[in-house]
Amino acid sequence: MNCNRAKQELELMREQNGGSLLHHLRQCASCRDYAEELRVVRLLRSMPAPEPSEGFEHRVLRSALPQSRVEPQARLRGWQLATAASLLLAVMMAVPRWQSSQSAAPQIVSTLPVSVSLDSARPLEGAVIRVSLPSHLALDGYPGVQDLEWQANLNAGANRLTLPVRLQGAESGGEILIEVEHEGARKTFRVPVQFRPSGGAATAPIQKT
Protein backbone atom coordinates (compact mmCIF):
# COMPACT_ATOMS: atom_id res chain seq x y z
CA MET A 1 0.00 0.00 0.00
CA ASN A 2 1.33 3.45 -0.88
CA CYS A 3 0.82 6.69 1.09
CA ASN A 4 -1.99 8.01 -1.14
CA ARG A 5 -3.98 4.84 -0.72
CA ALA A 6 -3.28 4.80 3.01
CA LYS A 7 -4.54 8.37 3.41
CA GLN A 8 -7.70 7.56 1.45
CA GLU A 9 -8.31 4.57 3.72
CA LEU A 10 -7.77 6.67 6.81
CA GLU A 11 -10.23 9.30 5.61
CA LEU A 12 -12.96 6.67 5.33
CA MET A 13 -13.04 6.67 9.13
CA ARG A 14 -13.57 2.93 9.47
CA GLU A 15 -14.15 1.49 12.88
CA GLN A 16 -11.25 -0.88 12.34
CA ASN A 17 -8.42 -0.51 9.87
CA GLY A 18 -7.40 -3.35 7.56
CA GLY A 19 -4.21 -5.35 7.92
CA SER A 20 -2.43 -3.77 4.94
CA LEU A 21 -3.13 -0.27 6.23
CA LEU A 22 -1.87 -1.15 9.69
CA HIS A 23 1.22 -2.67 8.13
CA HIS A 24 1.82 0.52 6.14
CA LEU A 25 1.30 2.71 9.23
CA ARG A 26 3.90 0.71 11.14
CA GLN A 27 6.45 1.55 8.47
CA CYS A 28 5.47 5.08 7.45
CA ALA A 29 5.96 7.91 9.96
CA SER A 30 4.31 10.44 7.66
CA CYS A 31 1.07 8.44 7.44
CA ARG A 32 1.13 7.77 11.19
CA ASP A 33 1.38 11.52 11.66
CA TYR A 34 -1.52 12.06 9.27
CA ALA A 35 -3.59 9.46 11.09
CA GLU A 36 -2.92 11.21 14.39
CA GLU A 37 -3.95 14.54 12.92
CA LEU A 38 -7.18 13.03 11.60
CA ARG A 39 -7.86 11.64 15.05
CA VAL A 40 -7.36 15.06 16.65
CA VAL A 41 -9.57 16.79 14.08
CA ARG A 42 -12.35 14.21 14.50
CA LEU A 43 -12.25 14.58 18.26
CA LEU A 44 -12.36 18.37 17.95
CA ARG A 45 -15.24 18.21 15.50
CA SER A 46 -17.30 16.17 17.94
CA MET A 47 -16.37 18.18 21.01
CA PRO A 48 -19.51 18.31 23.18
CA ALA A 49 -21.12 21.47 24.49
CA PRO A 50 -23.90 21.81 27.04
CA GLU A 51 -27.34 22.79 25.80
CA PRO A 52 -28.42 26.30 26.73
CA SER A 53 -30.97 26.62 29.50
CA GLU A 54 -34.67 26.25 28.79
CA GLY A 55 -36.26 29.18 26.99
CA PHE A 56 -32.86 30.66 26.11
CA GLU A 57 -33.72 31.72 22.56
CA HIS A 58 -37.00 33.30 23.59
CA ARG A 59 -35.31 35.07 26.48
CA VAL A 60 -32.46 36.57 24.47
CA LEU A 61 -34.73 37.69 21.67
CA ARG A 62 -37.10 39.33 24.09
CA SER A 63 -34.28 41.21 25.76
CA ALA A 64 -32.79 42.22 22.42
CA LEU A 65 -35.90 44.04 21.28
CA PRO A 66 -36.17 47.70 22.27
CA GLN A 67 -39.49 47.64 24.11
CA SER A 68 -38.21 45.18 26.70
CA ARG A 69 -35.19 47.22 27.68
CA VAL A 70 -35.10 48.40 31.24
CA GLU A 71 -34.95 52.06 32.14
CA PRO A 72 -31.76 53.36 33.70
CA GLN A 73 -31.43 53.17 37.45
CA ALA A 74 -31.89 56.16 39.69
CA ARG A 75 -29.39 57.36 42.24
CA LEU A 76 -28.63 54.99 45.01
CA ARG A 77 -27.73 56.22 48.49
CA GLY A 78 -26.41 59.40 47.01
CA TRP A 79 -23.81 57.55 44.96
CA GLN A 80 -24.07 57.53 41.20
CA LEU A 81 -25.23 54.24 39.88
CA ALA A 82 -26.26 55.17 36.36
CA THR A 83 -26.69 51.56 35.50
CA ALA A 84 -25.16 48.67 37.29
CA ALA A 85 -23.12 45.55 37.37
CA SER A 86 -23.28 42.09 35.94
CA LEU A 87 -22.08 39.05 37.76
CA LEU A 88 -20.86 37.61 34.59
CA LEU A 89 -18.76 40.06 32.70
CA ALA A 90 -17.91 42.83 35.00
CA VAL A 91 -15.15 45.02 33.68
CA MET A 92 -13.93 47.79 35.85
CA MET A 93 -12.14 51.01 35.27
CA ALA A 94 -11.21 53.32 38.08
CA VAL A 95 -11.26 56.96 37.08
CA PRO A 96 -10.00 58.77 40.12
CA ARG A 97 -10.11 62.52 40.51
CA TRP A 98 -8.12 64.21 43.20
CA GLN A 99 -10.02 66.24 45.76
CA SER A 100 -8.44 67.56 48.87
CA SER A 101 -10.18 69.26 51.72
CA GLN A 102 -8.38 72.50 52.24
CA SER A 103 -9.65 73.04 55.76
CA ALA A 104 -7.46 74.45 58.48
CA ALA A 105 -7.93 71.35 60.57
CA PRO A 106 -4.67 69.79 61.67
CA GLN A 107 -5.63 66.37 60.35
CA ILE A 108 -5.31 65.99 56.58
CA VAL A 109 -8.47 64.44 55.21
CA SER A 110 -8.83 63.72 51.50
CA THR A 111 -11.60 62.36 49.32
CA LEU A 112 -11.07 60.49 46.12
CA PRO A 113 -14.12 59.69 44.02
CA VAL A 114 -13.38 56.27 42.58
CA SER A 115 -15.58 55.55 39.58
CA VAL A 116 -16.06 51.92 38.78
CA SER A 117 -17.47 50.98 35.43
CA LEU A 118 -19.05 47.56 35.21
CA ASP A 119 -20.19 45.92 32.05
CA SER A 120 -23.39 44.03 32.47
CA ALA A 121 -24.52 41.40 30.03
CA ARG A 122 -28.09 41.37 31.31
CA PRO A 123 -30.33 43.05 33.84
CA LEU A 124 -29.90 41.72 37.37
CA GLU A 125 -32.86 42.34 39.61
CA GLY A 126 -32.18 42.46 43.33
CA ALA A 127 -28.42 42.14 43.08
CA VAL A 128 -26.51 42.64 46.30
CA ILE A 129 -23.48 44.93 46.22
CA ARG A 130 -20.94 44.71 49.02
CA VAL A 131 -18.04 47.07 49.50
CA SER A 132 -15.24 46.30 51.96
CA LEU A 133 -12.60 48.86 52.79
CA PRO A 134 -9.36 48.63 54.78
CA SER A 135 -9.33 50.40 58.15
CA HIS A 136 -7.64 53.56 56.83
CA LEU A 137 -10.24 54.11 54.09
CA ALA A 138 -13.91 54.98 54.45
CA LEU A 139 -16.76 56.22 52.32
CA ASP A 140 -18.03 59.76 52.73
CA GLY A 141 -20.99 59.72 55.06
CA TYR A 142 -20.00 56.37 56.57
CA PRO A 143 -17.09 57.12 58.93
CA GLY A 144 -15.71 54.05 60.63
CA VAL A 145 -17.83 51.68 58.53
CA GLN A 146 -15.62 49.22 56.69
CA ASP A 147 -18.28 46.95 55.21
CA LEU A 148 -21.35 48.21 53.39
CA GLU A 149 -24.04 46.19 51.69
CA TRP A 150 -27.10 47.19 49.70
CA GLN A 151 -29.49 45.80 47.15
CA ALA A 152 -30.07 47.23 43.68
CA ASN A 153 -31.81 46.38 40.45
CA LEU A 154 -29.01 46.38 37.92
CA ASN A 155 -29.39 46.94 34.21
CA ALA A 156 -27.63 45.60 31.16
CA GLY A 157 -24.93 47.70 29.56
CA ALA A 158 -22.03 49.77 30.80
CA ASN A 159 -22.60 50.78 34.39
CA ARG A 160 -20.98 53.27 36.66
CA LEU A 161 -20.69 53.36 40.40
CA THR A 162 -18.85 56.22 42.07
CA LEU A 163 -17.50 55.66 45.56
CA PRO A 164 -16.40 58.76 47.51
CA VAL A 165 -13.39 57.17 49.16
CA ARG A 166 -11.98 59.02 52.14
CA LEU A 167 -8.48 58.61 53.48
CA GLN A 168 -8.38 58.49 57.26
CA GLY A 169 -4.85 57.70 58.25
CA ALA A 170 -1.22 57.95 57.34
CA GLU A 171 -1.22 55.36 54.57
CA SER A 172 -1.63 56.75 51.08
CA GLY A 173 -3.38 53.86 49.41
CA GLY A 174 -5.27 50.65 49.81
CA GLU A 175 -7.46 48.11 48.17
CA ILE A 176 -11.24 48.16 48.00
CA LEU A 177 -13.09 44.91 47.63
CA ILE A 178 -16.35 45.04 45.68
CA GLU A 179 -18.60 42.01 45.52
CA VAL A 180 -21.72 41.67 43.39
CA GLU A 181 -24.07 38.81 44.19
CA HIS A 182 -27.09 37.69 42.23
CA GLU A 183 -29.15 34.52 42.66
CA GLY A 184 -26.42 32.74 44.55
CA ALA A 185 -23.63 33.58 42.11
CA ARG A 186 -21.08 36.20 43.01
CA LYS A 187 -18.16 38.04 41.54
CA THR A 188 -15.47 39.86 43.45
CA PHE A 189 -13.20 42.67 42.29
CA ARG A 190 -10.23 44.29 43.93
CA VAL A 191 -9.79 47.96 43.24
CA PRO A 192 -6.41 49.34 44.32
CA VAL A 193 -6.60 53.03 45.19
CA GLN A 194 -3.57 55.27 45.48
CA PHE A 195 -3.71 58.81 46.85
CA ARG A 196 -1.06 61.16 45.53
CA PRO A 197 -0.35 64.23 47.61
CA SER A 198 0.94 66.17 44.60
CA GLY A 199 -2.48 66.16 42.98
CA GLY A 200 -3.95 63.53 40.75
CA ALA A 201 -4.29 59.95 41.80
CA ALA A 202 -3.53 56.61 40.29
CA THR A 203 -4.86 53.13 40.58
CA ALA A 204 -3.12 49.83 40.04
CA PRO A 205 -4.58 47.09 37.83
CA ILE A 206 -7.76 45.61 39.15
CA GLN A 207 -7.67 42.02 40.29
CA LYS A 208 -10.72 39.87 39.64
CA THR A 209 -11.10 36.90 41.96
Binding site: P50, L61, S63, L88, L89, M92, A121, K208
Partner: protein, 189 residues
Protein backbone atom coordinates in the same frame (compact mmCIF):
# COMPACT_ATOMS: atom_id res chain seq x y z
CA UNK B 1 -42.05 34.80 -5.05
CA UNK B 2 -38.96 36.91 -4.36
CA UNK B 3 -41.11 39.97 -4.94
CA UNK B 4 -43.63 38.77 -2.38
CA UNK B 5 -40.86 38.19 0.13
CA UNK B 6 -39.53 41.67 -0.52
CA UNK B 7 -43.01 43.14 0.02
CA UNK B 8 -43.37 41.10 3.20
CA UNK B 9 -39.98 42.29 4.40
CA UNK B 10 -40.91 45.88 3.76
CA UNK B 11 -44.16 45.54 5.65
CA UNK B 12 -42.88 43.53 8.60
CA UNK B 13 -42.17 45.37 11.81
CA UNK B 14 -38.47 45.91 12.55
CA UNK B 15 -38.77 43.65 15.60
CA UNK B 16 -40.12 40.81 13.43
CA UNK B 17 -37.44 41.29 10.79
CA UNK B 18 -34.77 41.27 13.45
CA UNK B 19 -36.17 38.11 15.02
CA UNK B 20 -36.46 36.35 11.65
CA UNK B 21 -32.88 37.20 10.76
CA UNK B 22 -31.27 36.39 14.05
CA UNK B 23 -33.23 33.44 15.40
CA UNK B 24 -31.68 30.78 13.09
CA UNK B 25 -28.20 31.75 14.36
CA UNK B 26 -28.77 31.98 18.09
CA UNK B 27 -27.81 28.39 18.80
CA UNK B 28 -24.65 28.69 16.72
CA UNK B 29 -23.76 31.90 18.51
CA UNK B 30 -24.34 30.21 21.83
CA UNK B 31 -22.12 27.27 20.90
CA UNK B 32 -19.33 29.58 19.79
CA UNK B 33 -19.74 31.70 22.91
CA UNK B 34 -19.47 28.53 24.98
CA UNK B 35 -16.28 27.51 23.17
CA UNK B 36 -14.76 30.83 24.12
CA UNK B 37 -16.10 31.23 27.64
CA UNK B 38 -16.17 27.53 28.61
CA UNK B 39 -19.16 28.30 30.77
CA UNK B 40 -22.80 27.78 29.89
CA UNK B 41 -24.31 30.75 31.70
CA UNK B 42 -21.54 33.08 30.61
CA UNK B 43 -22.07 31.96 27.03
CA UNK B 44 -25.79 32.68 27.32
CA UNK B 45 -25.11 36.11 28.78
CA UNK B 46 -22.55 36.90 26.11
CA UNK B 47 -25.03 36.09 23.34
CA UNK B 48 -27.72 38.12 25.07
CA UNK B 49 -25.37 41.03 25.42
CA UNK B 50 -24.44 40.93 21.74
CA UNK B 51 -28.03 40.64 20.53
CA UNK B 52 -29.13 43.47 22.79
CA UNK B 53 -26.65 45.72 20.96
CA UNK B 54 -27.60 44.55 17.49
CA UNK B 55 -31.13 45.78 17.08
CA UNK B 56 -30.05 49.29 16.05
CA UNK B 57 -27.91 47.64 13.34
CA UNK B 58 -30.90 45.93 11.73
CA UNK B 59 -30.35 47.46 8.29
CA UNK B 60 -26.74 46.30 8.33
CA UNK B 61 -27.97 42.81 9.16
CA UNK B 62 -30.59 42.85 6.41
CA UNK B 63 -27.95 43.69 3.82
CA UNK B 64 -25.81 40.65 4.64
CA UNK B 65 -25.69 37.59 2.40
CA UNK B 66 -24.53 35.33 5.23
CA UNK B 67 -25.43 36.75 8.64
CA UNK B 68 -24.01 33.70 10.49
CA UNK B 69 -20.27 34.45 10.24
CA UNK B 70 -20.96 38.16 10.65
CA UNK B 71 -22.81 37.52 13.91
CA UNK B 72 -19.96 35.33 15.12
CA UNK B 73 -17.54 38.11 14.22
CA UNK B 74 -19.54 40.57 16.34
CA UNK B 75 -19.66 37.99 19.11
CA UNK B 76 -15.90 37.52 18.90
CA UNK B 77 -15.24 41.24 19.16
CA UNK B 78 -17.48 41.51 22.18
CA UNK B 79 -15.83 38.47 23.77
CA UNK B 80 -12.37 39.98 23.25
CA UNK B 81 -13.57 43.28 24.61
CA UNK B 82 -14.99 41.75 27.74
CA UNK B 83 -12.61 38.89 28.42
CA UNK B 84 -9.33 39.91 26.91
CA UNK B 85 -8.97 43.48 27.98
CA UNK B 86 -7.46 46.00 25.65
CA UNK B 87 -3.70 45.77 25.75
CA UNK B 88 -3.30 49.53 25.86
CA UNK B 89 -5.66 49.93 28.75
CA UNK B 90 -4.08 50.80 32.08
CA UNK B 91 -6.47 48.30 33.60
CA UNK B 92 -5.52 44.70 33.10
CA UNK B 93 -8.64 42.69 33.61
CA UNK B 94 -7.99 39.85 31.20
CA UNK B 95 -9.55 36.49 31.90
CA UNK B 96 -7.54 33.51 30.77
CA UNK B 97 -9.23 30.68 28.90
CA UNK B 98 -9.72 27.53 30.93
CA UNK B 99 -11.33 24.26 30.01
CA UNK B 100 -14.83 23.54 31.32
CA UNK B 101 -13.79 20.40 33.18
CA UNK B 102 -16.97 20.29 35.26
CA UNK B 103 -19.05 19.74 32.15
CA UNK B 104 -16.86 16.81 31.07
CA UNK B 105 -16.90 15.37 34.56
CA UNK B 106 -20.71 15.30 34.56
CA UNK B 107 -20.86 13.73 31.12
CA UNK B 108 -18.28 11.11 32.04
CA UNK B 109 -20.59 9.94 34.77
CA UNK B 110 -23.55 9.85 32.38
CA UNK B 111 -21.87 8.24 29.40
CA UNK B 112 -19.90 5.31 30.68
CA UNK B 113 -20.13 3.59 27.30
CA UNK B 114 -18.19 6.37 25.60
CA UNK B 115 -15.82 6.91 28.46
CA UNK B 116 -12.60 6.60 26.45
CA UNK B 117 -13.69 8.99 23.68
CA UNK B 118 -14.92 11.51 26.20
CA UNK B 119 -11.69 11.24 28.19
CA UNK B 120 -9.76 12.01 25.02
CA UNK B 121 -11.97 14.98 24.30
CA UNK B 122 -11.51 16.27 27.81
CA UNK B 123 -7.74 15.90 27.44
CA UNK B 124 -7.92 17.74 24.14
CA UNK B 125 -10.03 20.53 25.62
CA UNK B 126 -7.49 20.86 28.41
CA UNK B 127 -4.71 20.97 25.83
CA UNK B 128 -6.44 23.94 24.18
CA UNK B 129 -5.60 25.88 27.32
CA UNK B 130 -1.95 25.70 26.43
CA UNK B 131 -2.42 27.28 23.02
CA UNK B 132 -1.96 30.98 22.38
CA UNK B 133 -5.29 32.80 22.17
CA UNK B 134 -4.88 33.38 18.42
CA UNK B 135 -4.19 29.72 17.70
CA UNK B 136 -7.03 28.56 19.91
CA UNK B 137 -9.48 30.91 18.20
CA UNK B 138 -8.62 29.37 14.86
CA UNK B 139 -8.99 25.81 16.14
CA UNK B 140 -12.30 26.55 17.85
CA UNK B 141 -13.77 28.19 14.78
CA UNK B 142 -12.38 25.89 12.11
CA UNK B 143 -11.97 22.45 13.66
CA UNK B 144 -14.56 22.53 16.41
CA UNK B 145 -17.36 24.59 14.85
CA UNK B 146 -16.59 23.89 11.21
CA UNK B 147 -16.17 27.37 9.75
CA UNK B 148 -14.14 27.48 6.54
CA UNK B 149 -10.64 28.97 6.53
CA UNK B 150 -12.03 31.94 4.60
CA UNK B 151 -14.79 32.52 7.14
CA UNK B 152 -12.33 32.20 10.02
CA UNK B 153 -10.08 34.76 8.34
CA UNK B 154 -13.03 37.10 7.98
CA UNK B 155 -14.22 36.61 11.57
CA UNK B 156 -10.78 37.09 13.13
CA UNK B 157 -9.72 39.72 10.59
CA UNK B 158 -6.52 37.93 9.64
CA UNK B 159 -5.47 36.53 6.28
CA UNK B 160 -6.20 32.99 5.16
CA UNK B 161 -2.50 32.10 5.14
CA UNK B 162 -2.28 32.97 8.82
CA UNK B 163 -5.36 30.86 9.54
CA UNK B 164 -3.78 27.86 7.84
CA UNK B 165 -0.40 28.21 9.47
CA UNK B 166 -1.94 28.68 12.93
CA UNK B 167 -4.13 25.65 12.34
CA UNK B 168 -1.16 23.55 11.29
CA UNK B 169 0.92 24.55 14.31
CA UNK B 170 -1.97 24.25 16.73
CA UNK B 171 -2.85 20.74 15.54
CA UNK B 172 0.77 19.70 15.88
CA UNK B 173 0.79 20.91 19.45
CA UNK B 174 -2.55 19.26 20.20
CA UNK B 175 -1.35 15.98 18.74
CA UNK B 176 1.66 16.01 21.01
CA UNK B 177 -0.47 16.92 24.01
CA UNK B 178 -2.96 14.17 23.27
CA UNK B 179 -0.23 11.53 22.97
CA UNK B 180 1.22 12.69 26.27
CA UNK B 181 -2.24 12.76 27.83
CA UNK B 182 -2.98 9.23 26.64
CA UNK B 183 0.23 7.92 28.13
CA UNK B 184 -0.44 9.70 31.40
CA UNK B 185 -3.97 8.31 31.36
CA UNK B 186 -2.64 4.76 30.99
CA UNK B 187 -0.23 5.23 33.88
CA UNK B 188 -3.08 6.46 36.01
CA UNK B 189 -4.97 3.22 35.32
Amino acid sequence: MTGLIQIFRRRAAPEDRFTALVRPHIRLMYRMAYRWTQNQSEAEDLVQDVLARLFPRLEELVALDKPGPWLVKVLYHRYVDLYRRRLNSPVDDSVSWSSDDTFFQERLLDERNHFHQLELKRALNRALEELDDGWRDVVLLHDVEGYSALEVAEILEINVGTVKSRLHRARKKLKAALQLGTIEGCHAC
